[in-house]
């Protein structure tokens, strides 16, 4: 048995259960969060967390640690995250509006959407500044609520557009890999962007994806044939 889908009260519990059943250590598995679940109130309206755990096939070269997955985001995280973000923007002298919208990539998930004029400055090179802003918002929000907040930020739909172009890039590259039967590595990307590539090609059994390299240089390699 190389793959298992498990449901439990929390993501951590589900992962642990799956790992035990498969007899794997966390470092030997690829973990995919299908649903983070909901805590509900006194057990009412709660929803279980579901994860899929797969035995990782080790490649001879390269680093194969999984990309970072966001942590549980309970209901009250988003409004507080919005307040923190607004406070930061004010202190940065940025005039902008923050709206909460549905995450088009992950149903049931929310995005804090920043809009206004001249906000390129908030995005930065390769979205670096946006990532820093998101990181600080989550740091402060997590601290206040004593949970691991996983709030997602977007500025002027930058992420949305970037993810859309990554999906088509992944698709085009996969087609090329299939027709040439040779592996292709994409440009280095941050973890959230590599994740989009992995997810886009996850159901394509004719190609396999893997993140290799370290830090700033970590990139996705698309190769022919799926992992056994």
């Amino acid at each position: 048995m190389d793959e298992l889908e498990v449901g439990a009260k929390t993501v951590d519990e589900a992962v642990q259960q799956a790992l035990t059943e498969l007899g794997l250590d966390k470092t030997e598995a690829d973990i995919e969060i299908i649903s983070r679940g909901k805590a509900g109130i006194f057990g009412f309206g709660s929803e279980e967390a579901r994860v899929k755990v797969r035995r990782r096939t080790l490649s001879a070269t390269g680093d194969v640690t999984p990309d970072v997955t966001p942590d549980v985001a309970p209901e009250d995280v988003t409004p507080l995250g919005k307040e923190v973000l607004e406070q930061l923007l004010t202190l940065m002298n940025i005039t902008a509006t923050v709206d909460i919208r549905e995450n088009t990539d992950q149903p049931d998930d929310k995005v804090l959407d920043v809009s206004g004029e001249d906000l390129g400055i908030l995005i930065g090179r390769r979205g670096d500044t946006l990532s820093s802003l998101q990181y600080v918002v989550n740091l402060i929000t997590s601290r206040k609520l004593r949970v691991n907040a996983g709030v997602t930020l977007d500025v002027e739909h930058y992420r949305e557009r970037r993810y859309e172009s990554l999906r088509s890039l992944a698709q085009r590259t996969a087609d090329e890999v299939k027709s040439t039967a040779r592996s292709i590595s994409l440009e280095p990307m941050p973890s959230n962007e590599r994740r989009i590539v992995h997810i886009t090609l996850r159901d394509d059994s004719e190609v396999a994806t893997q993140s290799v390299g370290h830090g700033e240089g970590r990139k996705v390699v698309i190769s022919p044939g799926s992992a056994p």
Partner: protein, 74 residues
């Protein structure tokens, strides 16, 4: 800019009362962030990740004001 650093630091340390930011001038504005010794890790982070993020946001504030800024953590 000083207020930005103060807000972030006070929100993430264990001892907010010991957070103090002083302003000086060198190559542009120089901000010195002081925190309790036990809180140093909280504002620097693993591999300086938190300090890097604070500096990135500070840079945005500086660009908006048309100045240069340096952040020292001590």
């Amino acid at each position: 800019m000083k207020e930005l650093v103060e807000y972030i630091a006070r929100s993430i340390v264990d001892d907010p009362e010991q957070v103090n930011v002083t302003e000086g001038y060198g190559d542009g504005v120089v901000l010195n962030l002081h925190v309790a010794p036990d809180d140093m890790g909280k504002v620097i982070g693993k591999q300086g990740r938190i300090a890097t993020a604070i500096r990135a946001l500070l840079k945005v504030a500086a660009i908006k004001q048309g100045v240069r800024v340096t952040l020292n953590i001590e």
